[in-house]
Structure formats: C-alpha cells, structure tokens
Amino acid sequence: MCALKMSPAMPERPGYFGYDDSNVILELRLLRKEFHVHRGRTIVKAVDGVSFQLHRGEILGLVGESGCGKTTTGKLIMKLIEPSSGAIIVDGEDRTRLPREREIEYRRHVQMIFQDPYASMNPHFKVKDVLEEPLLIHKIGRTRSERMDMVAEVMEKVKMSPASEYMDRHPHMLSGGQRQRIATARTLILKPQIIVADEPVSMIDLSTRAEILHLMKSIQREMELSFLYITHDISTARFFTDRIAVMYLGRIVEIGSQDEVIDHPIHPYTKALIAAVCEPVPGRVGIERELQVKGEIPSAAAIPAGCRFHPRCPFAAKECAELPEPELEDIGGGHLHACRRWKEI
C-alpha cells in the first residue's frame, strides 16, 4: 500500500496497548460513528470510542448483542460509512479518510464476508461471474482465460471441486453452505490482508456451520490472513477465534485471549453474557438460570452517564454512575477490561 499523510486530527493512541507495533495490521483509535435521526434532534452513538488492534494472522472475535455497534464497526473498517471521529490505521498508515479512487484500492486489501449468503450475490450471475467481478473491478488478469484460471484456483481452495462442476451454476442452485464458500472465495481471489466477516455462519444450518468455520480457519492459517469475526454467538467465537473483544453499547468492555475472556471473565457484562448461554448437557431441564443482569440493552440514543453498563449491573455502586466512564485497563497478558469495581466483585 502506498504511503499517505497522517490526518492532522488523528487522536493519540490510548496508553494501554503494550504490543510490538510491527505485528499490528489494523488499529482503531477512539473510533466514533454518530447517526443523526429525527432531523437531527436525536443522536444515535452507534460506535462510541472503539479502540483495538488486530494482529497479523490472528482471528479476533467482536462479540455483543444486537445494537451494540459491532456491525457498524465492521462497516467503518470496510469504509462503507464514514466515521464521525477517530482513526483507522492499516499497516501503520492512517486510512480514516480516503479519496474515492484510493477507497477501491483499499478494499482490495480489506475484504468483507456478509451475513446473508442468499442476498449477497447477484442472482443473474453464474458462480464464475460472481468470482470474476472483483478481478474486473480491480483490473487483475489480462484475458478472460487468465481470470478463469484464478477463479478455478480459488474454488479449489474453498473445496468447491471440481470447479468446472459449479462454475456455471447460478446462486439459487447452491446450498447455503456452498454459497458461503463462494462468498469466501470472492474475498480470497483478491488476496486480501484483512477479512471482516459479519456473522458468516449464522444463517447456515447447524450441521454445515462447523464445516464452514473449519474451512475459513484453515484458509486463514494457510494464507496468514488477519480476520475480524463479528458475531453474537460467543460459543462459536470460543471455537473459532484467537482473541475476543466484548462490545456493549458502542464500546469495548473487555478484550483478551479467548481462554482468558471465557474462562476468567472480569467485566460483569461478559460474565452475564457467558452465564446466559445454554449448553447441550443433561440435568438442567426446567431449572431457571440465575441471571445477573437486569433488563435489556438501552437505546444508543440515550447512553447512560458514567459506566454505560451501570443501570443493568448487579454490582453497580454510586461511583459507577457518578465518576466518568472507566477506560480499558490491562491486568496483564493482554487481558483488558473496563470495570472500576472489578477487584471488589
């Protein structure tokens, strides 16, 4: 990627990252996105100061409930929408604001897999057209046959073989799992560095879900891709990711290795999220779960003052409502959380 001047408004990096920068491929710094609705009378803070780093060759899970801003974060990274403030840094270069022609080049390196494999492909296109289109847009391959070789190659990679059998099919002739393989192939054909996958398996049947996750993970490892996995399903995140970031109402409240976050959660919200998950084990019929958290996620148009989780938190004290919002704090080993009272609870 070519060098670009840093924008003057780029915020300082928060002081809690203790990593070697050379290993960071994507960094978000205090990224914000506000939507003005009701003719500007209401401001929805969908993403409200998100900072994290994605390392080279890792899978980072972005986990949270609907409305927490995880999909908006994904769209911001894809530059499908403009951030209100903050910075997106790829490979050490500020990519927050790009002119239109640079955006196209940017997306060659940062690709997205969408949630709905039924809606993300042109129904009139054959599989080979779906896969050729990114090559045409980015002017890769001189002749059609050269491009078709690339298409066949990438189809083998996602285990759609023999490629010749599937190339001439239309999307409606494929199962959900096969479509999501083609969607994956469509991102891989450009040899990107970063893939943002927004709920890539939530619409796929249980029996094939694991197969798709396996495939994505083995390709990610093989091609050393950096992967942002956006999901509401913390159970698949445990299986699929290296690190997990838990998002609540526009902010990250906890981040760390998947083992640390799930086996030793610190933030009360992470704890509540884990406590709510069902598991296929006997002896639990009819027993009501003890839920530590009250009510439902509030609107992003009315984010509570202080710690934004305090109205739902069973451990909230006076300070949680009155003091300013707690920042992420490192407790070692890259495990960070944003709870002021974590030692007492």
Partner: protein
Amino acid sequence: MSDNTASSAALPVLTVRDLKLHYFTSKGVVRALDGLSFDLLPGETIGLVGESGCGKTTTGVALLNMPSPPGRIVEGSIRIDGTEIVGLGDHELRRKVRWSKISMVFQGAMNCLTPVYTIRKLMRETYAEHFVGERIDAAAIEELMRKYVTLVGLPEHVLGRYPHELSGGMKQRVVIAMALFLEPKVIVMDEPTTALDVIVQAQILNLIKRLKRELKLSYIFITHDLATEAEVADRILVMYAGKMAELGSNEEIFGPVGSRHGPLHPYTQKLLASTPLLRKKVSELAFIPGAPPDLIDPPAGCRFAPRCSFAKEKCRSVEPPVAEIENRHMVACWKAMEDPEYVRA
C-alpha cells in the same frame, strides 16, 4: 422430568399416530411429514429438533390442523385431550380446538404484531376470533388480559401500548401471553428464542420454565438448537427428513455417546458433536457432510444413509422402523437395533 412416576401413569394429553402432511406443489408431492407418532404427557415438554426442512414447523402447524397451502394432512390421527382433530372443519377447529385446547407461538410472531393495534386490541381480537357469535363480556376479558400480561412478567400498562413501543423481549412476552390466555392444555413453541439476544433469550427461557411449572402446561418446543432443548425438554424428538430418527429422555439424548443410556442414532450423535460448546475448549467440531434429501423423491431405505458413516447395504435398501430400544427410548436405525457392539461400546 420432575414427577416422572406420576405423569408416566397419566393419560397423554396429545396423541399423534402415523401423521402425514404433504405439500402438493407443481414440482411434485413434498413428503414434509411422513409418518410421525408420539404421545405427550400432561406437564411434559417434548423438544423437536433437526436441521431446517426436516419437518419441525410442519409438525407444529399440523398439530393445530392448519397446514399452509398447498399442504394437506393426508393420513394419521391427532387426539388432543380425547378429541380427534383430523377431519374437523375450520369453523369447529377455531371454536373448539385452536387456542382453547392447543395454541402456538409462531416463529417470528413477535415481529408480525399488527403495528396499528394496541396490545389490548390485539389480544381482544384473538379472543373474538375464537368465540365467534358469542356474547363477549368486556370486563371479564379485561381481567383475563391483565392476569396473563402480569403472568408473563409485564406491567399492566403494556396493554395500552403499540408493538413498536416494546422491546423484542417484551413483544415475545406479549406473544406468549396471547398463546396462553384462552387457557389451552398444549402449547407449541416454534423457535421462541431464536431471534433474541442471548441474555433476553435466557430471560424468556426462564419465563417458559416458570409458566410450565405454575400452569402445569405441556409444550411442544421446536428449535434447531440442541443446547436450548437441554434446558427445556423432558424428552427430545430428533427429526430427519420428515421422520422420527430418535425419541429419548433428556438424560439419554445428552447422555454418554456409546452407551445404551446415551444418544443412539448416528444423526443425533453427529448433531451433538457439531454443537459448539462455550465452557469446554474443543479443537475440532464435527460436521455432517452432504445435505438432507429431496423430499419429493426421498432415497430408498434409511433417509439418513447417504450422509451416515455407518451405512451398510441394508440401510440403503430397507427403511428402518421406529423401535423401542430401552424403556420409551425409540430409535429408527438398523445399526442401533442390530449391532450389539454399537450400543455396548
């Protein structure tokens, strides 16, 4: 089951025998439900699980005798509380069966509430719909509505609200209240928690458990998620391609694989192995290769045979009957029936 001995002796509240519901489409007859038999005891929950298209929802609507066109119940019997409902006319079903004997929480119903009606009007309409031509005592209905709204954990003023003013969890509670309030014996719940966030999901599951205990309800609980069934279902009926693969108690289905007291059908075992676990780290998740068969022209023999790693010649030619292996533990699999090594392993 909490009171196993007491309810085993009781008469079933719902008896289904050899039920067949076919869809008569332009492409041919889709055998969506092809011979299902089971009993539901008072106060019991049977969980229906399987992949999409296996006939779970079809079973649900068949139990209310309201197949969507071009579907028709072609054979079989459904007795609810002693009344045979197959063959009854629409008017009779509406007056005497639906909602007063058996009701259903439809998948996604919470998003289908008429937006211009208040909750009060919606509930009153449900009442009027099932008591056509009878005098309606407004005060009595109001009292009934208040009772059920309170019972599902909502404040009474919700009756005056419009659907868009309520959160997803609250709307789902309204839908459950509407299913309850003509006091049926049996309630069919079709994916009642699927569209909700994890924490809200757990809250609704707690409600469903509490209502079952307090009102002594019997449920048919439909979901694709085995982990949810583990929390609510006394017995689990695993469906595959319109037929029963296995019916066992919660302890059996979620019991040790390879024992007589564990899951017996290879399909059940594979489904369990492909369910991601949150609290246990697994490096490999199983998946089931291939896809469910076309129900217009299902394969001869066992319908799961093309995807089954144990399949032998017999499985591909002769369809296995549903056999009782242990006390009330039914399975339709030649291997489970005939291979003594298989269950002893």
